[in-house]
Assembly symmetry: C2
Homo-oligomer: 159 residues x 2
């Protein structure tokens, strides 16, 4: 059987949102698994501590959803949390904001090619996938930090 | 503007395939970046060497596409490569096979709930996403191994 795969819808916008939020839940549990001092200081191979990787996710999530929704690409300009509690509070605030804003994305914008932040030329959904993939990629690195600290990371399949 | 996000197609089957193959290309370059001995022996925090993580991807990719396409969930039973060249050759063979088989997936199977390998109850596309996410997650861990070895990993955005 041959399928015209380009014409078959595999994922709805809501599926993409749920997938992202599932990963965000896992990232939250990964943040929680770090002892406070290690979250802000520990790394392997000269890389950034996990708090800095999370700060990167925070800098991307809402600005990307805003950009896909509106065509306006505005860099995140919040101030960086200095404690685990502050980081988790900011994470939770963005989680709610992300769902609300995601659902305002006009349908045509998922496929529409745009230049995110004046630099990354991709479809709207491609830019969203990039943010999710980047979160999975760097969270996987956080798992190595946890293992190197002798801490069991959360189960990857638990979303 | 409010969108019925559950009704909006965000990704076609072909988009999902291209996204996966883009990641497979990056994983291939990550395998290549490892010195042969380190590929099979080096790790951080008591984790598996990168060759074992790649072996996990190989064990999932084609069996999952077969399972989604046909409803038959059969575990991979190939034999484990012992050299980098063998691992890359197997990777390349699967890359072609994956594209061909993916395009035979009947459209209804993406949304249909099935129990992958008698264990994981998900939609077809959910199972495919799990394989891709797992590859991104563990490849990110390979990046830490490379950094710990003083080797620059491939650019994450280059697919």
């Amino acid at each position: 059987m041959t399928t015209e795969t380009a014409q078959v819808s595999a994922l709805s916008a809501e599926d993409v949102l749920k997938h992202w939020q599932g990963h965000r839940g896992l990232t939250r549990r990964t943040i929680e698994a770090f002892p406070e001092d290690k979250l802000f200081s520990f790394s392997v191979g000269g890389m950034r501590p996990f708090s800095e990787l999370v700060w990167e996710f925070i800098g991307m999530a809402i600005p990307i959803v805003d950009g896909v929704a509106t065509g306006n690409w505005v860099k995140y300009n919040g101030s960086k949390p200095g404690t685990k509690a502050e980081l988790l509070a900011l994470w939770d605030a963005q989680t709610s904001e992300l769902t609300a804003k995601f659902r305002t994305i006009p349908p045509r914008r998922f496929a529409e090619i745009d230049t995110a932040f004046g630099q990354w030329k991709m479809s709207g959904v491609g830019t969203i996938q990039y943010a999710v993939d980047n979160e999975i990629h760097h969270r996987g690195q956080g798992y190595v930090y946890l293992r190197a600290l002798g801490i069991e990371p959360p189960q990857f399949w638990d979303r």
